[in-house]
Symmetry: C2
Subunit: 201 residues, 2 copies
C-alpha cells in the first residue's frame, strides 16, 4: 500500500477542501477552491492542483468543469484495515495498516443500484451461516444462481426468503442454515443472489 506523500500544510488544506466537497456531492470549481482558501488568482489554485497531481493524489479531466477526482492514494473514502497496533502510543498509530477498504467498494462496489435491493432478515433460519435476525442482506437481482449460493427466493405464498440453494440429482431446493428448519422442496423462483450482509450494532 502506497503511503501518502508529504504535503505542505496548505496543500493539505486544499486537498481537504476538495475531499469535503466531493463528500458533499459536488467537486469544487477552481474558483470555488480559491474563494474558500482565500486565493485571489485562479493561477494559484492551478499551481496547487498541479502539485497535488504530481504527487499522485488528484486526477483531472481537461476542460471539464469540476472534474477533480481523488486517487487511491488520497485516501478518500478509505478506511484503514489494521492488523496489529503498536502499544504504548496513546492514540492509534496505524503502523500496521494492511490496506484500505473503500467504503463504496466494500459496500456495493460498482454495481449500480438498479439491480440491487435489500432484505431485512427475519428469524434465525440462516443463523449457522452467520446471518442473524435484523441483518440487512444486499441482493443482486438474478434469475438463477449456482449450487450452494445463498439466494433470495420467492415462494408460492408470495414470501421471500433467504436460503441456500442446493441441487440434488439435477433438481434445486432450498436449505436453511439451521437444523431446526426443514429443507424446502416446494416451487420457488430465485430472484437474486446474496452479495453482502451488513449488521449494525
Amino acid at each position: 500500500m502506497e503511503k501518502k506523500p508529504y504535503l505542505t500544510p496548505k496543500q493539505e488544506r486544499v486537498l481537504n477542501f476538495i475531499r469535503k466537497r466531493i463528500g458533499e456531492r459536488l467537486p469544487p470549481t477552481i474558483r470555488e477552491i480559491g474563494e474558500e482558501l482565500g486565493f485571489k488568482s485562479t493561477g494559484t489554485v492551478r499551481d496547487y492542483l498541479k502539485a497535488l497531481m504530481q504527487k499522485g493524489l488528484v486526477r483531472r479531466m481537461n476542460n471539464k468543469s469540476r472534474a477533480i477526482e481523488l486517487t487511491e492514494r488520497a485516501g478518500f473514502n478509505k478506511i484503514p484495515i489494521i492488523g496489529t497496533i503498536m502499544a504504548g502510543k496513546p492514540n492509534l498509530a496505524y503502523e500496521e495498516i494492511q490496506g484500505y477498504v473503500d467504503a463504496d467498494d466494500l459496500f456495493l462496489g460498482r454495481l449500480g443500484f438498479d439491480d440491487v435491493f435489500a432484505l431485512r432478515v427475519k428469524g434465525d433460519s440462516m443463523i449457522d451461516a452467520g446471518i442473524l435476525d435484523g441483518d440487512v442482506a444486499i441482493i443482486k437481482k438474478r434469475p438463477n444462481a449456482d449450487n450452494n449460493d445463498i439466494v433470495a427466493a420467492l415462494l408460492d405464498n408470495n414470501e421471500v426468503t433467504l436460503k441456500r440453494l442446493r441441487s440434488k440429482a439435477g433438481k434445486f431446493h432450498l436449505e436453511a442454515a439451521n437444523a431446526n428448519y426443514a429443507p424446502i422442496f416446494e416451487e420457488f423462483k430465485v430472484i437474486g443472489k446474496l452479495i453482502t450482509v451488513i449488521r449494525k450494532y
Copy 2:
C-alpha cells in the same frame, strides 16, 4: 416514506442517467444528458429537468455547472428494503417496499472517517455472534465500552482481537463467542467498539 411519483419512461431514463453519473462521482451537465439520451437541444433536457424538479426528485442550483442533486424522494443511494414481492410479475415490482436503506447511512452513517477503522476478522472466535472469518468489522475508536459490547481490544502481545466485553465483580474481561475459546483475563485495552459488520460473498 413518500412514494416516488409517477414518471414517464423517458423521465425515468433521464433520472437514471443522472443517478448513474452521480454514482460515478460527477453529476452530468445539461449537454451531457442530452448527448446520452439523444436530445439535440439543451432546451429538451431543461424541460425534463423542470419536470423532475416539479415532481420533487431533483434539486438544482442556478448558474452552477453540474449542480444537479437528487432529493430524498428520488431514492438515490437508497436501496429498497423489500418485504413481500408480488408474484407473477416477471421483473421485481416493488409493491411492498418497507422503506429504504441509505447506502451511506447504513454503512457508516455520518461518522466521518477519522474515528473509524476496519478490522478484517480472522478465525472463528466470534462465530456464535454471527461474525465469521473474513468479515470486515467496522470499529469506532473509543477508550472504553459497556458490558456486553463487542469491542476491539489490544492485548499485551500487541495483537488486536474482537471480543465481547464482560464485567464481573467490577472487573472487565473478554469473552469469545465460541465455546472452544477460553475467556481472556489478561491485561487489555479497549480501542474501539464494534458498530458494523460487513460480509461480502
